[in-house]
């Protein structure tokens, strides 16, 4: 069980779930969460490769940086979504329309 392929399989499943979520979800927050899934699948990849593959810590450092940047992205993303909610009173991205009233 504790092999590189298990981790790669988990990360591939997470990646596909994330992409699926981005394509079918219409709620802005859920899309944001799906994108976070893709990012964590990449992090799993990086850490697993660093642990099982080449003997360098580069991958784990990359994963740490990626986590911090993901948080920054999520903060900005939620701020933008909140602002959209204040303007349109909805965060369903299909219902965003310039002509729509408050």
């Amino acid at each position: 069980m504790n092999s590189l392929y298990t981790y790669l399989l988990v990360s591939a499943i997470l990646f596909c779930l994330g992409l699926y979520g981005v394509t079918i979800r219409r709620n802005a927050l859920l899309i944001l969460m799906s994108i976070e899934l893709i990012l964590s699948s990449a992090n799993i990849n990086l850490i697993a490769f660093s642990r099982f593959g080449a003997l360098s810590l580069d991958g784990q450092i990359f994963a740490l940086f990626a986590m911090v940047i993901t948080l920054a992205q999520a903060a900005v993303g939620i701020a933008i979504i909140l602002n959209v909610y204040n303007t349109f009173r909805t965060i369903n991205i299909d219902k965003l329309d310039i002509s729509r009233n408050k």
Binding site: L32, I35, I38, A42, N45, A54, F62, V84, I93
Partner: protein
């Protein structure tokens, strides 16, 4: 080079960081007359950064901070271009009516941060550095697009930009993690080394290259991403659209060129054959320029036309990267610089004419406010340069691109034919803008808001457009000599 020694070459970036961090407290201290304090201060920041850049101009390459950042001729050329473009964009945004009534201190802060991100991006030599700088650039752009908090179109553009930019960066980091797994290193040059030595399946590498191109694609607005980027360009306020169509795109192409040159090509800048890179890029280039041009024909307002036109130009720039080699890259860089100059020029005129014009139907001629024949002549010169007619620099750029396609070992005659057809389409919709300006008199007399600064900027932008159309050899040779990449 170790950390202490590298600081000397990192001073342009440091001065950008310090200026951007000081601007927020400064604008809080001087609450009255904020503009009188901040504008000279920011100008000083630009001048300081460019002084450090020129003082430490170095013909040999260095790897800064343990080879994370490359300080070579290529990165210095691009840093200088980005600095000048952003300075012009900063000056023209001061005159914008859309940004007039809101507090602009954060706006300048984020302009500086995205300039910092693009500085790091053009000089990054490591996958980690590429990811961090792309994120710095795109997070700043996310906020800039949604800067008008109460404006509905700005809000919609911000959401679209948010999801497309987050998705592309998520997929980019997934691709980068796979590259790391295959090669065991993050350094660009070492990745190329281990890819050429190992016995990894070529098909899987091609798939990974496609994933990474997907990640860069949103910055470069190549074909599957044009849908998202045009909506963002149309929705954002005009000074920010001008910023988005030039600075992130220049930085994105710079990093694409660096990745291709250090990882996927040999010393003569010949792309390695077995990953089908050349074929992928030719198809993308042809699709990008054709789709961008065809969609631009139907656009009714000037921002829409410029948004699609910018995508078509991305296709032209990609054309030179498909052939690669010294000729191809330098033709692409020449074209990229000339495209940015002309685009900044066109947007200067658009920002200075009234706000309604930017969103107005082109046929709705009452609204057009080109009172002075000066601006009509200037915008015509830029549009002629974008179309690629002599005697402007755009013609030279297109000429070198087509020449590079025919000169190389593999000849891309079909791509040249597609490119020429696209030039004709491009001429049609660029001429529509000039036509609507020349033939339709405006009836309303709205006060012309041209000031001296934007006139000077326009003249400064017209000079290279004409000059390099007549005598282009010095610039072209300079670009050719700049193709020097630091490889540890």
């Amino acid at each position: 080079m170790d950390n202490i020694l590298s600081i000397k070459y990192f001073l342009p970036e440091i001065s950008l960081i310090v200026t951007s961090l000081l601007i927020l407290p400064l604008s809080l201290i001087f609450k009255t007359n904020v503009r009188k304090i901040t504008i000279p201060f920011l100008t000083f920041g630009f001048i300081l950064s460019s002084t450090f850049l020129i003082m430490n101009w170095d013909l040999s390459g260095h790897g800064l901070f343990l080879n994370l950042i490359a300080h070579d001729r290529f990165s210095q050329l691009f840093k200088l271009c980005l600095l000048i473009f952003t300075f012009f964009l900063f000056l023209i945004s001061l005159n914008s009516s859309e940004l007039k009534n809101i507090s602009s201190k954060e706006y300048h802060f984020f302009i500086f941060i995205s300039l910092l991100g693009s500085f790091l991006l053009v000089s990054s030599n490591n996958l980690l550095m590429i990811y961090i700088s792309i994120e710095t650039l795109s997070i700043a752009c996310l906020i800039l697009v949604g800067y008008l908090k109460t404006n509905k179109s700005s809000n919609i553009a911000a959401v679209k930009n948010l999801f497309s930019s987050l998705l592309s960066s998520a997929i980019l980091i997934y691709g980068l993690s796979l590259v790391y797994g295959l090669t065991g290193t993050l350094n660009l040059h070492e990745i190329g080394h281990s890819l050429s030595n190992s016995s990894i399946n070529n098909f899987s590498i091609t798939v990974i290259i496609l994933i990474i191109l997907f990640g860069f694609g949103y910055k470069l607005t190549i074909v599957p991403f044009h849908i998202w980027s045009t909506d963002v360009y149309k929705g954002a306020t005009t000074p920010i659209t001008a910023f988005l169509t030039t600075v992130p795109k220049v930085a994105g192409f710079a990093i694409l060129i660096r990745v291709l040159a250090t990882t996927f090509s040999n010393a003569n800048f010949t792309l390695v054959k077995y990953f089908h890179l050349s074929e992928i890029i030719t198809v993308l280039a042809a699709a990008t320029m054709t789709l961008g041009n065809l969609l631009a024909i139907n656009q009714k307002n000037i921002k829409g036309i410029l948004a699609y036109s910018s995508i078509a130009h991305s296709g032209f720039i990609l054309m030179g990267l498909a052939i690669f080699g010294q000729e191809g890259i330098s033709a692409s860089i020449f074209y990229l610089i000339m495209y940015s100059i002309a685009f900044i020029g066109v947007f200067t005129v658009v920002i200075n004419s009234n706000t309604e014009f930017q969103l107005a139907n082109l046929k709705n001629h009452n609204r057009l406010n080109f009172q002075s024949s000066f601006s009509t002549i200037i915008i015509s010169i830029f549009l002629i340069s974008l179309t690629g007619l002599p005697p402007t620099a755009g013609f030279v750029g297109k000429f070198y691109l087509f020449a590079a396609l025919i000169k190389g070992e593999t000849k891309f005659y079909w791509l040249v034919i597609i490119g020429i057809i696209n030039c004709i389409i491009m001429f049609f919709y660029h001429a529509r803008i000039i036509h609507s300006m020349l033939l339709h008199k405006n009836e309303k007399h709205i006060k012309n808001r041209y000031d001296k600064v934007s006139n000077v900027i326009l003249i400064l932008l017209v000079i290279p457009t004409i000059l390099f159309g007549i005598y282009w050899t010095p610039l072209f040779d300079f670009i050719k000599q700049s193709l020097h990449f630091f490889m540890p």
